[in-house]
């Protein structure tokens, strides 16, 4: 079969799965008074359509910020405005000021689902397809199967088309990576600025972008071409930011208010049961009670910074595309694990870069993507998305097994750990059993996740510990993520030695 018809079939399959998931429930369906993210998005449409732009981020009599006030950057607001405009054409009740609060109906759900579907179709999916076609040193079939696995990644499908969220910021970030892969640095930085201005969480990815481009400038020589590139990049970034913030730029108070809305530092170290280090540690010590909020902020900042440092330095010194992709993963993971005010859904910021390396380390990538989906389980259960979760996750595993036969790729070389294992020369005796050990660990982790999923879905928690299962899910995922962070850092730091070895041999 032709490469293109295979890709078409893949995309159609991915779209079918997306729409089938969207038939299910969404966040906060029929749960007054606050509802959920679905209502938040609808409310933003209402606000942006009816209020003048200067009031969007301010608490006024028409805009109660305590009820899903806008707390995303301007691009989200503009996007809401566009959606609201279409909504108004179809049914004005959907975005009527005040009276539309908590509006729910089948046609409205259909409309909202369609907006997500269109956003996905126009931004995220084309980026994935082009990225897979641009992969080097891979057969046409491998490219298609990479696309299949990336597009079927359940975490993103469930959050976007089930829970309700737009895949625009991730899609734009993907476009940025794609542009950098083709050496279109300026276009890439524009795309990334747009992503950042769609959702501030994209900051998780900002350091690798910064370090990679900076390293590239250094490599070209800071006195010649490098400086020109640096200046061009800085200009592009400033211009794109200015364009996004133009309507707010008239007034310093406006900008400050938006920034205050974007970074609510008084919300606490973590919310709900998120699978990061702080939430997991608080099973043992109640950090929130022991340390003052100020110190919490500083502590989380310091730890995040330290964990980021090695990968970033390495990337600046030796900028390479491969290193860049891995750095995206490890930096986002550091942020997720250690930073302040992390949300469960932020794991997607790690997952998408992991998808980008799925053809290089299929086994580890699949493992990580499964764990990340599993870490979303408490959220999905709350939204009534158990069925799609229980269906798409094994389907994804089956797709990965079929397209990469991951279980046969667990040797040190397949995991990109050859260089690392060579540096441990004295201790190589256990490396013979390495593939088997890794495989059994994988199966163990799979069965643990499976058992916990079944328990969370079916068994009532003990009365004294009502949060037992969500906490267990968070702690188990957190342990996985720590090991993954270690793994990705090892891969990054031992990267160039690997190349040196190849050249010598």
């Amino acid at each position: 079969m032709e490469k293109w018809s295979l890709m078409t079939v893949t995309v159609l399959l991915a779209l079918t799965v997306r729409w089938a998931v969207s038939l299910g429930s969404y966040s906060g369906a029929g749960k007054p008074p606050m509802y959920g993210d679905y209502e938040a998005q609808r409310h933003w449409q209402e606000i942006t359509y009816n209020l003048p732009i200067r009031q969007w981020y301010f608490n006024t009599s028409d805009n109660n910020l305590l009820y899903w006030g806008l707390d995303y950057p301007p691009l989200t607001a503009y996007h809401s405005f566009v959606c609201a405009y279409i909504a108004k054409l179809i049914n004005p009740d959907w975005v009527a000021l005040h009276t539309s609060r908590g509006y729910e109906s089948q046609p409205h759900k259909l409309f909202m689902r369609t907006t997500v579907f269109v956003a996905d179709l126009l931004v995220y999916i084309p980026a994935v397809i082009l990225y897979c076609f641009s992969l080097k040193e891979t057969s046409a079939k491998k490219k298609v199967s990479s696309a299949l696995c990336i597009l079927l990644y359940p975490g993103l499908i469930l959050i976007d088309h089930g829970h309700f969220q737009y895949p625009l910021s991730l899609g734009l970030a993907l476009w940025a990576v794609l542009c950098l892969c083709h050496d279109w640095d300026l276009l890439g930085s524009v795309a990334f600025c747009l992503a950042l201005n769609y959702k501030q969480m994209e900051l998780y990815h900002s350091l690798p972008f910064f370090c990679y481009l900076l390293g590239k400038c250094f490599k070209k020589g800071l006195k010649g071409k490098g400086l020109v590139l640096l200046a061009k990049l800085a200009g592009t970034v400033l211009l794109s930011f200015a364009a996004c913030w133009l309507p707010f730029g008239t007034d310093v108070e406006q900008i400050m208010q938006v920034l205050r809305r974007l970074f609510p530092i008084d919300r606490g170290l973590f919310e709900d049961k998120v699978a990061n280090i702080w939430c997991s540690l608080s099973v043992l010590i109640k950090i929130k009670n022991v340390i003052s909020p100020r110190t919490q902020l500083k502590l989380s900042f310091a730890v995040t910074f330290l964990s980021l440092l090695p990968a970033c330095i390495k990337l600046t010194v030796q900028p390479s595309l491969r290193g860049f992709k891995f750095a995206l993963v490890s930096c986002a993971l550091s942020f997720f694990l250690f930073s302040f005010q992390v949300h469960e859904k932020s794991i997607l910021l790690v997952s998408v870069p992991v998808c980008l390396v799925i053809n290089e380390i299929p086994f580890m990538a699949t493992w990580f993507l499964l764990v990340s989906t599993f870490s979303l389980l408490p959220l999905l259960l709350k939204d009534g998305l158990l069925l799609p979760y229980a269906v798409t996750t094994p389907a994804f595993l089956a797709a990965c097994l079929a397209s990469f036969s991951i279980l046969d790729k667990t040797s040190a070389e397949d995991l990109q750990l050859k260089a690392f294992s060579l540096s441990l020369k004295g201790y190589t005796s256990w490396f013979k059993a390495f593939p088997r050990i890794v495989r059994s660990l994988f199966l163990l982790s799979l069965s643990l996740m499976g058992i916990l999923s079944v328990l969370s879905a079916a068994a009532p928690p003990p009365q004294r510990l009502p949060d037992l299962f969500p906490v267990a899910v968070a702690v188990l995922s957190c342990l996985h993520f720590l090991l993954f962070l270690l793994y990705f850092n090892v891969v990054i730091l031992w990267d160039s030695k690997n190349k040196g070895q190849k050249k010598i041999s």
Binding site: M1, E2, S5, L6, T8, V9, L12, L13, L15, T16, V17, W19, A20, V21, L23, G24, Q106, P107, L110, R113, F117, K141, S145, L387, P388, A390, V391, T392, P394, A395, A398, A399, L401, A402, S403, F404, S405
Partner: protein, 521 residues
Amino acid sequence: MAAGGRGWFRALALGVSFLKCLLIPAYYSTDFEVHRNWLAITHNLPLSQWYYEATSEWTLDYPPFFAWFEYALSHIAKYFDPQMLVVENLNYASRATVFFQRLSVICTDTLFIYAVHECCRCINGKRAAKDILEKPTFILAVLLLWNFGLLIVDHIHFQYNGFLFGLMLLSVARLCQKRYLEGALLFAVLLHFKHIYMYVAPAYGVYLLRSYCFTANNADGSLKWRSFSFLHVTLLGLIVCLVSALSLGPFLVLGQLPQVIARLFPFKRGLCHAYWAPNFWALYNAMDKALTILGLKCNFLDGNKIPKASMTGGLVQEFQHTVLPSVTPLATLICTFIAILPSVFCLWFKPQGPRGFLQCLVLCALSSFMFGWHVHEKAILLAILPLSLLSIQRAKDAGIYLILATTGHFSLFPLLFTPPELPIKILLMLLFTVYSFSSLKSLFRREKPLLNWLETIYLIQLVPLEIFCEIIFPLTPWKQHFPFVPLLLTSVYCALGVTYAWLKLYISVLTERVSVRQKAE
């Protein structure tokens, strides 16, 4: 895709099963209530009441084995939600009920998966392709397992066609493997599950008689009358009688056979279903309408004498023809019989082994579909699924398959009319169509193009038709006055394609020469 051996089959089967599970919350038609009602009837009432009970309008009108099947299911259903088993709970659809009913369809589909597996085994992979994606067996597995029609009819619209087609394909596979008695048994059982499979019974009867009851052929391929085996005939007869006795016997004893028969064959229902299946009668009706309008325009007809229904609704149950003669059940029966006859003769006089049998099977199904009384649009699957088996063997059949599958599947679109299911049906249809076109094209890439330009244009026209029917027409003022126009257009346009495919297949079968050499192999 790298998985060797039979790994890919498992992946395909698993994948489609997962997709089916995702469709659990989708829209379901009144057939859902039909089956819930049957669960309740068989669970609560004694056997003697099954075919008399009429609390719900959806009375039991499938043969006894299907009733027993519902009876068996009901014993699992009570653990999900006992309320669904109350006969008076009309239109009861709790979450547990939906989940159970959907799951029962998905689970019984394992029989279908097994049957497809067996069919793939009896297709000899002469074209040993290096690439797994280009293996005929792989393509066949996708065409059957991921069949668009089966997916939307069973897993959205709601019916139990999966395991029934499983029985049919399994019996076909057994006949191909020369395990005739098993094949006959399976088909006999199938007939007592759902009597619509009578459409293809002539093919079975003649093939078994020709290949099993006569054990040898003359050198030129003609029948050797002396090789008739009484033992084989007796065995076959025994099987058929035993199965029928098991199924209908209890009702015979109770003296309810006439009632059962009356329920199974409701001839009062009218020539065409509410939505015209794309067959000969759809063309006939459309012609009648066109002539009526023409007649009114030219004043050949008196507007006051025309029955009202035929001009306003157009899609009432009893369609009254104004210009052309009205059609009686007997007429359709005769038409069907005449249409089937040549294919059966062909099977008898030009035996081609399993391939000839399959051709005859498809022709029987299609002919019955073309001329039958009160045909449902879903019955087209009866022709499409067996034709998949032929399509991967010869380029000519592949071309016919593409036309028939595309138009036949397209004609199923009106089954799903709710807005949330619109993207699903379009995406799934595209998925299946793109796959079937590209895979068959690559399979026969050395031969001439599968479709000529006229056929291609005809198929491409389906796209604007769909856009007109689903998007443009609802926005026009005609929607109020002529709500039936999209259905009429779909039905008539698809009827052209189905008729064309039927004729083309008939011609190709009738003009085919028997190769004695092939027989000898």
